[in-house]
Symmetry: C2
Subunit: 189 residues, 2 copies
């Protein structure tokens, strides 16, 4: 089965390489939106499906499986996506500093025959206590700007510990993806 | 695995019995709606998922798999659901008489662990030429009122022939359901 990863994230690409040797990358461009959701799991599954769907409609996706994925950070009932600007990144990192939050990643695979499989996972993340100076330095590095919650777990000195899947926090829960992939390969041709 | 069928349709119940011996029936009550869809397949998958989701959130659905299903008739680009009243049924049956249309059924299963699998199918249906008198009689029987496109394929003298799955026209494509079920039993616990 031929695969397309509908994401521009180099971190997702790296993780997906562990699961599928060869695939194309065609990032979804459209602005995903979900207004009607009851839980963060629901939200990320819906957004992941929107990304996969957009790419699956392209002529070059015909006959291929498309994987979409979406990650959000949830702190105290607030859903954090990517920061809008540096001030927003500062607000997020200040809020998360020294506290625990959840990371939700949703995955949706659209099979060549149109069947869809999706799922979501959450991981508890415990942040280091970050000084103002450290936050400013981190933002100046540029790394926070394209990441949900304004941080990357792979960047050192930010996350103290996690409970649950690491790859889920990076943006592509490997175990879940393997499960969905197995299904799609069986029934999606 | 324990199963719930999220549909009030006795026809779906009958078909589902061929696939799963024992299950509960808890019909979804909410008004499903989908405004943003690119194709009838997309539409029926979305509506099927909304039904399954509504029921899966009930406390009595905890630990169980929930199946939702939705069927529409598509004629000449128009999507026909259940008729609003007898006049609407008459309009639909007059329109479909002697012509070919498509029936789309979408199926979504939500697994106990929250994973979702969905798919859709279409069948071509060729209608008999129906006289005005026959249409009035059929509407008077009451059968059209709870059915997409205002007819049931199991009611004699309405459908001349079909191309594709019969159970899909009745409202639950058995082959597709079996595929999705197999998947859910493997990865949805």
């Amino acid at each position: 089965m031929e695969w397309i990863l509908a994401s521009a994230s180099p971190r997702r690409k790296q993780l997906f390489k562990r699961i599928v040797r060869r695939f194309e990358v065609i990032p979804a461009k459209g602005e995903e939106k979900a207004e009607d959701w009851e839980s963060p799991s629901e939200l990320v599954m819906t957004l992941a499906e929107q990304k996969a769907r957009e790419v699956s409609l392209l002529p070059e996706a015909k006959g291929k499986a498309v994987l979409g994925s979406d990650t959000v950070v949830v702190y105290n009932g607030e859903v954090l996506g990517k920061p809008k600007d540096e001030a927003d990144a500062k607000r997020m990192l200040t809020m998360l500093s020294g506290k625990a939050h959840q990371v939700y990643t949703g995955v949706c695979i659209i099979a060549p025959n149109g069947m869809r499989a999706k799922g979501a996972q959450s991981t508890d993340v415990y942040f280091c206590k970050l000084t103002d100076e450290k936050i400013d330095k981190y933002i100046a590095s540029g790394s926070p700007m394209d990441k949900a919650g304004a941080y990357g777990i792979q960047d050192g000195g930010i996350v103290r510990r996690i409970r649950g899947s690491y790859s889920n926090v990076v943006g592509l829960p490997c175990r879940l993806v393997r499960k969905l992939k197995k299904h799609v390969e069986k029934v999606g041709q």
